[in-house]
Assembly symmetry: C2
Homo-oligomer: 320 residues x 2
């Protein structure tokens, strides 16, 4: 019964989560290390990561039984195994790092498969989550930014260069669109991320003198907007309505591309589905061709929040 | 040496083109029948088509050597083999027609593969044309409308329901966008098709009194706009600049989806590339993420116009 387990690693800007996962998707052991204390020294980070991974494998009692390691990381490239120019990772911010190769070497040759975090999440949904059994779906991760993982014919779309699925940087507002973190204007991410929601609230508060509980917040976050909406705050409710409408419009164009069975929402902001879902569905169905009207499912991630990222990355390792 | 030939059929609103094609992509014999004289009687049309196909096979001297028949038709569905609710085909305008099954029966069991015309063109480009050797590209057919065929990992994207690749109906103008033939507003097709180009010219002529050779045309077509642009007509040149800019912006979002190696333009309007190419490339590169800037190829179909549609459809039959 050798090699019936995999390791999933989720590399985030602040922390890296590691888990040993069995074929049923149960996380047998897990741990967390910091990602942000190694400065620009990628080798030091990868060495520390290998030590932590070995410790988790030992904790699970699965030494010698690991089939592969799957990693989800910002700007991770499936083809090259590199993490390159990731603004939130100091050790990969200004250079490409041969992450998969180096980690595999540090792990005594266990094969490592790498992709970006949103693609990993899509694989996780397909293997363990809301998209189980689906061969065609689009996953949108609504977090600090907006990421995406696209599955067509049961396979993640990597494209010619490994960077496919950057739907957060498609355009939703052509005229005077907000400047996005990427430097372009009017991107989906500038409106429909956690940061975008807070930005919409701040802009609207400034543009009117409408009363709102949000005026009492020192620095408005998307969580504040959610809490205000729950209390019935009219401005906060309109912020979600606007955000959902832009999301639905964008999704309509994504549907025209790959005709998915479902669009799966994931990430912190997706937990506001009680306010987002109605405007998403309305705008989606108003903006698709009649053949797709009321036919594309809108679903929300069912993975346990704490395990989701690890499971997504681990699912990638089964393909090794 | 049996079964080393295929038949390609291109179903258009007015005519249907038929050709016998060998493995090198040479058209050995071809003919044309009318598509528009059978009213709503799909069976009569398919019977006439089968007679014509048999005649072309006989003319090529390839009786008993046909491996399969590939068909490109408006609203053709690869999964179901149906042509359904195609507004330009009276015999399939208000109902689904089991085209592949019926034609195969009428052809004594020769297998028939069907897809929509734009997907067929994409397969043709991949097999015989500008996309030879490419595994990831997007084909845009700029004709009366705007069609698209998307290839990912060497496979045409059909999606969950067989209708993927309707990029002509993604949005390019959010506010006060033109009403498209599909009923939606601001679709790419409403601006960047032959009809869209003529419409832009007519709108702009009405909005100003700027002198233009186009004022002398009784009913402006995209060909008139092209001829005027060739003579240096300032308004006509701006129409192409605008059309190319909208195309380039739309393509930037398509690139974010599937990260293609190239975008391939096909169809009558694509012959205006001398005026369209510069604004397409400029807008594309201004609107993609830095990772794709100046990296995505813009290419134009190299297939002989007369054979392109037949070849595209025939290429589908090799997969049978």
């Amino acid at each position: 019964m050798a090699a019936q387990h995999v390791v999933g690693i989720d590399v985030g800007g602040q922390t890296t989560k590691i888990g040993v996962v069995d074929a049923r998707g149960d996380v047998l052991a897990q741990s967390v290390i910091r990602s942000d204390i190694y400065g620009a020294d990628a080798d030091a980070y990868i060495a520390a990561l290998a030590v932590a991974v070995k410790a988790v494998i030992a904790e699970a009692g699965k030494e010698g039984e690991i089939r592969g390691i799957g990693v989800g990381a910002p700007n991770g490239n499936y083809y090259t195994g590199q993490v390159a120019f990731a603004p939130n990772l100091a050790w990969a911010a200004d250079k490409p790092v041969d992450f998969a190769k180096k980690l595999s070497e540090a792990m005594d040759g266990i094969p490592v498969s790498l992709t970006n975090d949103a693609n990993a999440a899509a694989v996780g949904e397909m293997t363990y989550g809301a998209a189980r059994g689906m061969k065609n779906f689009i996953m949108l991760t609504l977090g600090t930014g907006v990421g995406s993982g696209i599955v067509i014919n049961g396979q993640v779309v990597y494209g010619h260069d490994g960077f496919a699925g950057e739907l957060g940087h498609t355009n939703v507002v052509r005229h005077n669109g907000r400047t996005c973190g990427c430097g372009k204007q009017g991107c989906l991410e500038a409106y429909c991320s956690a940061i975008g929601v807070a930005r919409t609230a701040r802009e609207w508060l400034e543009m009117s003198s409408e009363p709102s509980a949000l005026r009492e917040c020192e620095k408005i976050t998307s969580k504040d907007v959610y809490e205000a909406a729950k209390e019935g705050d009219a401005l906060a409710l309109r912020v979600f309505d606007y955000t959902g409408t832009l999301l639905g419009r964008a999704c309509a164009d994504f549907v025209a591309f790959s005709a998915p069975e479902a669009i799966v929402f994931f990430g912190g902001l997706a937990r506001s589905k009680e306010f987002l879902n109605a405007p998403i569905e309305k705008a989606l169905n108003e903006n698709v061709l009649p053949i797709w009207r009321n036919k594309v499912k809108i679903v929300y991630s069912q993975l346990k929040e704490s395990d989701a990222a690890i499971l997504g990355a681990s699912a990638l390792a089964w393909e090794l």
